[in-house]
Symmetry: D3
Subunit: 286 residues, 6 copies
């Protein structure tokens, strides 16, 4: 009986948060290393389904680096790097497209379905969701930079009560070539185009740390105004730099709140959204 009372209490405490986010779109970027644990994976999927069911539309944007690497290795295709970024020739791009849109994307849809949601797997080619041109001077091959987002196909899926799952492959502006685009950036641009309330980047760290490697030094909130200083102090550094910039761009484009969450904590999305405990680092404009 006691246990039941506690459970009921938890549900009731979620009430004001559900009211707050009701009907507002949340874009979740999930991928890479954060996706590897099987148990955590199911926990993330359950979070998405719960949000959708209580009336908060979610969109899942994913990458799939480890699965792509595995396939390239099996095929004996070695990766060449230009200024630290992977060069993607046409043959590599074909593998990227197959694995991301055909394997990772549809597996996510299958899992969401098994857990009781209605989902649909799309990529940037479908309905011209993402249009792109070659990134930079083209020295990275088929790595693209998103030029336009046509969110109609995603909005229709949301209206139909589905969870759209988006693989970050884009359609070239001039021909029917596919481009590999950065998943964090794609998630941010999609969040803007959807007028999203929130952008959540699931990572495998606790968030932005004041002291490198010391998870007890998590900075729970950063305003846009604090970013330059934190960059100068090298606190926002390494892989965190592009993530923070994605968040900043999303906020500049109208997204209200952005979060860098720890994908290793089970149900970190629910804890962030439906309890009074924050989680990870929130980046926002005040």
């Amino acid at each position: 009986m006691f246990n039941n009372a506690e459970r009921a209490q938890t549900l009731v405490e979620a009430l004001p948060y559900i009211q707050k986010f009701y009907g507002k779109v949340v874009v979740v970027k999930y991928g890479g290393n954060a996706m590897t644990s099987h148990e955590l994976f199911d926990a993330v999927m359950e979070d998405l389904i719960l949000l959708r069911l209580v009336g908060i539309p979610v969109v899942l944007v994913h990458g799939g680096g480890p699965e792509i690497d595995a396939m390239l290795t099996r095929l004996g295709m070695e990766s060449r790097f230009v200024n630290g970024l992977r060069y993607t020739d046409r043959e590599t791009m074909e593998i990227v497209q197959s694995v991301l849109c055909g394997k990772v994307n549809k597996d996510l849809v299958a899992t969401l379905t098994r857990l009781g949601a209605s989902a649909v797997g799309l990529c940037g080619i479908d309905g011209e969701l993402f249009r792109a041109v070659k990134y930079g001077g083209g020295e990275l091959g088929y790595v693209g930079e998103i030029t336009r987002v046509n969110p109609g196909i995603v909005l229709r899926a949301i209206d139909a009560g589905r969870i759209p799952v988006i693989a970050t492959v884009a359609l070239g502006e001039d021909e029917d070539t596919a481009y590999n685009v950065n998943a964090d950036t794609a998630a941010a641009k999609l969040a803007i185009a959807l007028g999203a309330e929130k952008l959540i980047l699931l990572t495998n760290t606790r968030g932005v740390l004041r002291v490198f490697g010391d998870e007890d030094t998590l900075i729970p909130q950063i305003t846009l105004a604090q970013i330059p200083e934190l960059q100068e102090q090298n606190i926002i550094a390494g892989g965190m730099i592009p993530k923070v910039e994605c968040c900043r761009d999303a906020i500049d484009g109208g997204v209200r709140r952005t979060h860098i969450l720890d994908g290793r904590v089970p149900h970190s999305i629910l804890i962030e959204m439906l309890t009074d405990s924050g989680n990870g680092t929130m980046i926002y404009d005040n």
Copy 2:
């Protein structure tokens, strides 16, 4: 952190129940003595709001005996009884209508609003929701028996995302007289007309007890087929008889599950609907 994990777990455990009841109407009858504790009162209201927010439309049907009695006493109007049932003359009926439709009903709407819901208070006169004739041979005065239910006005309120709160006063078939109708019966008839999934009668007992007065002898489930025998054995007895009959009629009319719940347990509706712990007595057809 641990605490958060537990909370998240509870939310996730609610998932299959939310999925199961999504979009299905639940009619809750609440009233009389079960309504007296202020704290429990708020807990019931929170349960209704939470269900509504997670996509389960709820309709609240209420009586208001104690508040009516208090007013009659203040006015020095004594109650006459016929075969143990209160005789309602025209003057008494006017007080019943004032208190039920004007006081109790609107107070419930105010509370639901304070807690964050959108609600509307209606009675059987509005939109001709309940039509009635004199009960029996009319020897109880303005006590009515429901003849027709026109659920349109309630359905529209549900569609608008509101919680309809229904006072059990009905409009006479032949003139514009109001009749006092039994709240349990009205809830059952409304549940049928709405094609409800569930009818919940909140009472101030644990449910049907095998041994009178011993709450440890709760019978958690009763099928329609078992009712006659339980009545013969005097296990279904006294005030439980009409409640069980309401449940039976509701099921005969197409309602899938009916529950006699203990209104004294905080959040007993949530516990019943969103956890794997049952609660009170469920009456159903197998």
Copy 3:
């Protein structure tokens, strides 16, 4: 035959007026002494129904002073006055709410239904229609001043072809307390929120009279610009002052025409709206 021709003529003469007001909302304030004659009462109800049927949506706003007084007297509750205005303590407010929302309101709905309309009884608590704070310094107790009008619930009832009947009790801004609000003011504010074409205040006088007590000195039309002078001349005086101010506020808020009509003349609303004979005093901006 001749009689029929006359009747047909009357109907045909109504044609341009029906065309003029088709689909435009008319708010009618009715209450107090104007409500006392039973025959006149039915005549007012018939007018409302006829307007609704020919495509002119009507909203009925009512007070209920006499019925409230009667109940307070029966309960031995005496009214205390502050600067000539009735002080409403919590206990009195409960009686006001019961009688207005439970008795007067639902009786009006019942009568409209008996005469063939579809109606719904609401008060300012339902759907948060009227929000209020304590009037003035709070020296009148639970007398409120309307701060916000959320007309959604009334608009939906209109769309469903119903006549909304509104009891002038409001919901407090900060808690779930009910406030008694002035019915003329509430009608004016609702007319503004609905973008109404007309506000009609039914009274028990002929309108604004040039000579006090002499009904032959009716002033049929007053422009906003004439009001200050008429007030100085004491022609707009006594109980007429707040009524004229309601009309002025309504017009300032976008209502096109306001009328102070004589509720003692049978069908004065129809005569005003569907014939070429004016009636009472029209206050407007030119």
Copy 4:
């Protein structure tokens, strides 16, 4: 004042009739000699507009014999008769089509518009409203017999709030030839296809008379069962025979009430529909 009260009374008396016919389609056949007086003409148009405004959709079906005759005479085209019916050769049919669809029809639309309605003039060719084959053995030339009614184009005009005005020219089944069809019959078939409540044939007699030529012997009501006997007794005779048969066919096809009204009485449609005085002869099934 007295006069106003009478007027209001008339409007209020119309109330139950408006309620009864609200939203139900009324098809009015008007034409030939009943159309000649200019004043009566406007009175008929006003009746139609008033019905439309109070929510009763009307459809006007018209012939135009006198105007056709006038044009044929001007052109020196003589009419040949076969068994008492006018033979219509191709050249005559062209004149019929021009005058009916181009002159009479559009003049009716112009008048309805001048009086404040929104109207549209159509004929049986538009949207394939009426399909026809040659009448009988074809010995009457381009006189047609309606084979199919496609009421879609009329229903859409009704939905748009317009009064459809229908010229009784039909499109041949096999080629794109136009046929002249009987206006009473066309009105009856259209009433059936529209699921109309009423078919009204405006004529220039009082209705069916028991004694030929004596208008005081009007038979106000005839049931289907009485028709054969009245035909045997020669009471239904001459031009009344096809009119009564149209009414009978309409009722057999589902129209609830049919009326042969006196088009010479101003506003006879309003008197019939919105007062308690009958008018002309009603033919119905009991």
Copy 5:
């Protein structure tokens, strides 16, 4: 087989043109001498139907000079001319209305129906499509100048998938008189009101010719800027002047492209719209 391949090729070549014009309204003015050949007539109708079927809504505006002249001659009514324009007295106007709205208009509808389309014949009186006042000082009698276009009735016909066929008779502003209006002008004004993509004037010349009478000197394209010079050079001369001015006005009002096409070439509309061969003279703004 070869022949089939060619056919398929033609269909495929039409693809980009269909894509370009999909859902965009095209107004075609057709009339007078261009309407005389029976074979060409069917070819024009087929073009309209094909455009409609591939998703390009077409509106047909027509005059009917030759048929009107024939009828006036038969009636012995001589035409008087004022400054080279035909004077239209009331009697003549009645003939114009009858022939245009009743004969030519409905014959076009019948032909379109025979060829498989759904069509509806309307004139400027229906739904007050065209309102007009007397042209100039009224010295031409019932010749009108369009003052307002209410395209609602045409838009609804388009939405219902029909081809609206419009006779160019307008309703007077002040009374219910009909006016004869210039068909080219009416087509241009309707094209503007509909936000049309294209206005096509079908004539019986090849287009604007550089050398009078020499069809090999067709000028395929004229920009607005070139018109004044071409007028000064007398290249745009005679009957071409008002046609070019209609085109110019249409473009000023927002129509994108206007065409003066040769109605004597079979399927000249299709050739213009669905192949890469231009046809006639296009007038546009660059």
Copy 6:
């Protein structure tokens, strides 16, 4: 000029076919060897787009055997056969899913987009379009047999004006495993679920041949009743057997016409659908 006339003629000849199929769904199965020529490929895509544009919704179902084989060979994965059918272990299934859903499917969407259509790539996992169980006794591994089709996601794409492109991978009934399903069968089942007018199987033969290898002996039409005899005579033999059975099943399920077309003929779909030349073998019920 002459050439244009011919082109216009071809377009006009397509008119009755467009009318016939307007708004009716056509399912096209395309894949395997028929997909290999680049030019033919574009011709097929153009056919689909043209049909869609003229109002005939098309759905493209594809396989992708050659691309799967190529990838398996690159990975050194050899195919094992059971009774002549390829055994699909889990590892192979992952490659099938990647290539079909990620590569072939999205490439088709990209090409349709380049040619001007709006398209979306889906597989049987999305929206639970295809549910399946293990084929036969499971001796083929992850080869599935379709148990249910939920066409909602395809219908919504059609409603949005898109061309749905469907990869024939299905979701297991019990777990979230993907199954490889036969593309012809999937197309037939989808055609049934969509209530399609036509199922077209594009192959690399002329159709059913009376004499093996002799394309001059094409049988243009086969009724359901003739199938058993043609099977006995070994005329329907080899790979033609399952194709003919798919057609038969589709017709049994309500599809009106099925076609085995020669994918090597450019625009064979257009020739079949929009000209009077048949093409390949039509299988139907008479």
